[in-house]
Symmetry: C3
Subunit: 498 residues, 3 copies
């Protein structure tokens, strides 16, 4: 920040020369003033950047509300309480675990390339590199990953299994991945000061791989090991749509996710007061705006592609499909949002919609059941986003967003060679490998211990009734009929929950 | 930034010949000051971009508000349809506004009628426009289309919807916003050479540009389609076709209120502009005042509606209060930045009465608008434009539109008739332009049989016939038993009368 | 802000000495530049702080939406319209009353320690101490207090009673309390420059006492005087849960409140650009971030505690209980959020959950019926929060957040002695006393005038039907049965409200 505003008293004193009564003192006086000014600029930058980061964190947090509503609307009414509880606990348990060790694993510098080891329980925070607001921002990211997975295994998972995998994912699996790609110490980080992978590092700006693929692949394993919901595939093996109970909640959730994505992608700059050339209109604030624009365009294109694609395939104009398509576009652009041109975002969204449709077809073929399409959407479109970035990253933007190392590789189609693509393929492979090696065994162990899937009776009756103290909705009221309301409305035979 | 201008020529002679190298010393000192000045530029860019981006996000949240408001205000059988239109407003609007909408609206330099630069965001960012400005204006554009979709809800073919929405967001609205908001617009208050009536139109955040355009477009659509089946009975009496969920209406209304804080105060675009440097009163105060006037107008309108409706209908009706609230907001939008808080009370009070009056009139002439959008946004928007011409305060007008002293201001504040004349011109040209573009469009669609759905579809509900099923599935017994969910039965068989 | 950037022309001139041609002019020239710089910093600070405060105010406003959804979901379907209307009117009527005199009573300095008496109707605003954005922020707080109370008396209160108490609470009771503890003139304010209560004043940073206890105790009196809802306790006096009609709305509301709490607690700093040592990474921005973190952790811990506590007690994993526990944690941390360590927030949340469970048990014992648990949650956990602050406030943070008076007392357990605890116990007592002395008689008078509780018939049928023009939901549609929809769905015999 203070680079250009460096007043040197010696230099100035020699310029004043011996004839000035007290040249040294005068120079020092003036330079003292400038150093005050310089400090004030530092203060201003901290205040502006913190404001920016905090409000971005709040927006990302609102995605948790979006997930809750999206999930609630996408499951059947009898499992609504269950899925909403998991979403609330994602945030709550995630908050504790990420505070205790998740953040330390992810960003605890100085450390090795594999895992961090400082800042447990926010010790030594704030430091000159990390402030509380950064923790809050990263926490909001961590709970998003767990939220993705909860969608894949909805409607048939025991609540205890949920608590276990969620803590493990937020507290260990996800932080380690984010350390690799986002911490300055990470072995594949684009900000690694020592040894860049393929001379480039991985440009996964806001986490198509780190967040979406991790969440999606974890969900894939969960859903695979549990098997499909009862009734999802009929005797002859044909897929039957088990429709969610409320499209209004789906649309509400989708829009909230869209709203929150403006914190997710543009917020990942973490700072906004960084000029590229001081005094120029073009600076990081423009890059932030561009990121918001590419995000918007990718989602919009994906939504429209899905609309027409699904219209041709199914004959309906289907709003829930459009919502999923939209989110597919967002999940894909997340990796490259800051380093591609707006027109490339249109391509990104277009392909993302096709990827999602393709994966959904495939899932039906292999009888894979994911109530939220989370594995297909976040896993599939996330992987496409990682590759897309390696193809379309612009030289200029890559150097602006990841400064200090000129001559970085950039997108293959933009003439930047294949090294970035190499790094990104490595990223996809290691994420798949790591999540398979951690979450796969975990789900399998839970399965073997009979802690994973609920009983068939519970599944038919719905978990809300059997586990969560009653249904989510009570629209009718017996009082109307009987004239007196003396019996319990609550259908559950269990003890009184209040 | 003008005042921080250190001049070497001025400073060098002051240091004089006795200083060893006076010129160099002066150069050195002034170099420092120019670095300081640049840093202030950077800070201002960062602060203003942060402000504008988060305002844009808030305005975007209004799209969610519209979706929920519309969904709650229609019958359950058309919920999927109306929500899809709202999602596509945003998505299609994003693409069209990117490709040419923004260019038509703000492509300077241009003629007074239409812009012709920045197609596909070429040459952006420029010193005049950054990406964040595009994002902000896009959020405005989709709001206009959202208004119209309410008027023609529950009976319009989806294809017609796609066509008019693209046309409105891509052409009709951008041209209007060019006239009144672009610095080259013929009626813009920032037009450098030739102000309309020496004043230009003060439509700060768009009571005319956004709300009237959306409302009048809806008026033509609804007029040409005619009322929904069952809206008026055999004897011509109005029958209320109530929306299916008041909760969604209230949710939508509050979200719109929330978003309006981006809409009105955000329209300043910049917050770090002092009116007098070093003084507590600056553009930040004007921004705060705008938020206050917006709040007070909405609050007054809500209370007025509450009591008037109580007298007229005998009920305390929350849906009416919500519409009244929005009417107050639509009205204050034009003058929010240039009136005193007490004037906002008058604005809201009259807006509520205007809405009630327009609604009575609509019933008389058998005009059916499920969301009251034409009455609310068209009628109250018009009142807002006139209100501004009556109550704009001299001091605020000159602060908000600086650089041209002696501007006309509100008639009742002693500012003469010029502003009112300009605003009446605005109302007339908006009505004329929208009539000349959207009227024929809707008429052609009707002639081509693309506008209104068949009576069978209308009775069954579009969700069932066009959108792949109803929005809600609270009970799901049959899916378990029959294993086939292609057939739909009624949602809630338990209660037949309420 | 400008304290340290004070260039003295005399000093500098004497340093340049007589040999410089025009030392005085040179010094004045340079110092003139610095004073421009200093002014620009003032401008920047106003812009940044206003941006921060305004967006925080918008977040706090979104809590009103959260309250509306939480309340709507927690009552039975037949009273949804009623409760949502009260929430809309809280905001609307609160806006008017707080504008006319509430803000004046609360912050109208200079004044006595009991009540303010300036700025009626925002006269003399903006001033150097208060800008419009501050009014907006405080208004959002005031309506939150009224929103709390409305939950306690839900489902059985006449709408007129609601209008009366809400205006009285927002316009008088709450402003007076906030004057005592938050205005610089308040007799117990920690910012009082003259005479600090116990040499300390009350550290109720964001209002566990001022907002939550006031709202909760007002609700307590209302609910006590009205008595429980019909059917809440059966013949033998056992409690029967009258479950709310939609858990989705409860979760939606809870998340929105969580989202808004990031404006409530961190936003209460009102300024973010305040360095503690200029040029250092650690400043008020860190304190703001820390406040957001403590808030998050307290809520998260409370949610998890409630989850397991309730599981043990009732055998269910209950999402609505978890939501209430979460809010209990937030209500408790609100007082001390800025002056405690993150680990203390974990303790705060843990105890808050137990307090809430305990008070709920107690309420059942004494047959106290509060549909939203508002008195227990906001009153009980709020009181715990006030005490918690007096126990765990850290010396360093207390001095940073309340600067200018070294040697302040701080938390008892942190070694700061008992004086803070003394002040906080006084706070609890006077709040209970004041609210009892104002709201108690008001509710009693309403009761005596037969204006408080609705008739038994109305209560059985639901207020929506009898008072608010019909039910909130219309999911079924006669068209399905009759093939033609010609009759009115609306159950009300009154005139058509639309």
């Amino acid at each position: 920040m203070a680079a250009s505003l460096s007043c040197s008293a010696e230099q100035l004193a020699s310029l004043f020369g011996p004839n000035t009564t007290n040249a040294a003192a005068a120079a020092e006086y003036i330079c003292g003033q400038f150093s005050t000014v310089s400090n004030k600029f530092v203060d201003t930058a901290y205040a502006v950047d913190s404001t920016y980061l905090l409000f971005s964190a709040y927006l990302v947090f609102s995605m948790q509300l979006g997930f809750a509503m999206l999930c609630a609307g996408s499951v059947r009414a009898k499992n609504t309480m269950n899925i909403m509880l998991t979403n609330v606990l994602d945030a709550a348990a995630g908050g504790l675990f990420y505070y205790l060790f998740g953040f330390a694993f992810a960003f605890g510098a100085p450390s090795n390339g594999f895992i961090g080891r400082h800042f447990f329980g926010l010790k030594e925070m704030p430091s000159s590199s990390f402030d509380y607001s950064y923790f809050l921002y990263q926490w909001a990211f961590a709970i998003a990953a767990a939220g993705i997975t909860s969608g894949s295994i909805a409607e048939r998972t025991q609540f205890v299994a949920y608590l276990i995998y969620s803590s493990f994912l937020t507290g260990f699996v996800y932080p380690v991945v984010s350390h690799w790609f986002w911490s300055a110490d990470g072995w594949a980080s684009a900000g690694n000061t020592g040894n860049l992978l393929f001379g480039s590092g991985v440009i996964d700006f806001a986490g198509s791989g780190v967040v979406h693929m991790v969440g999606g692949i974890a969900g894939l394993y969960g859903a695979l090991i549990e098997g499909p919901r009862i009734g999802r595939f009929d005797h002859s093996g044909r897929a039957i749509a088990l429709r969610g109970h409320s499209a209004s909640l789906v649309v509400l959730g989708t829009f909230l996710l869209w709203f929150g994505w403006y914190g997710f992608n543009p917020g990942s700059f973490a700072k906004i007061l960084s000029p590229y050339t001081s005094g120029n209109y073009y600076g990081q604030w423009s890059a932030v705006g561009r990121t918001a624009v590419t995000t918007t365009l990718a989602g919009c294109t994906a939504a429209l592609t899905t609309l027409f694609g699904k219209r041709i395939i199914s004959g309906h104009w289907n709003v829930t499909d459009v919502c999923n398509g939209l989110l597919g576009g967002f999940a894909a652009i997340t990796a490259g949002c800051s380093v591609v041109e707006p027109w490339a975002a249109v391509i990104c969204g277009f392909v993302a919609a096709l990827v999602l449709i393709g994966f959904n077809r495939l899932a039906e073929k292999v009888k894979f059941d994911d109530p939220l399409e989370a594995a297909q959407l976040h896993g599939g479109c996330g992987a496409w986003g990682v590759i897309f970035t390696a193809l379309f990253a612009t030289e200029k933007y890559v150097n602006e967003v990841y400064p200090g190392k000129p001559g970085r590789p950039y997108g293959l189609f933009m003439g930047g060679g294949g090294r970035l693509l190499g790094a990104h393929i490595i990223q996809i492979l290691v994420i798949i490998g790591w999540v398979s090696a951690t979450m796969g065994p975990l789900f399998y162990a839970l399965h073997k211990l009979n802690l994973l899937r609920i009983s068939e009776d519970d599944e038919m009756a719905g978990m809300d009734m059997t586990r969560h103290g009653g249904f989510a909705y009570v629209y009718e009221d017996d009082a109307h009929k009987n004239g007196l309301q003396m019996r319990r409305i609550e259908p559950s035979p269990g003890p009184n929950p209040i």
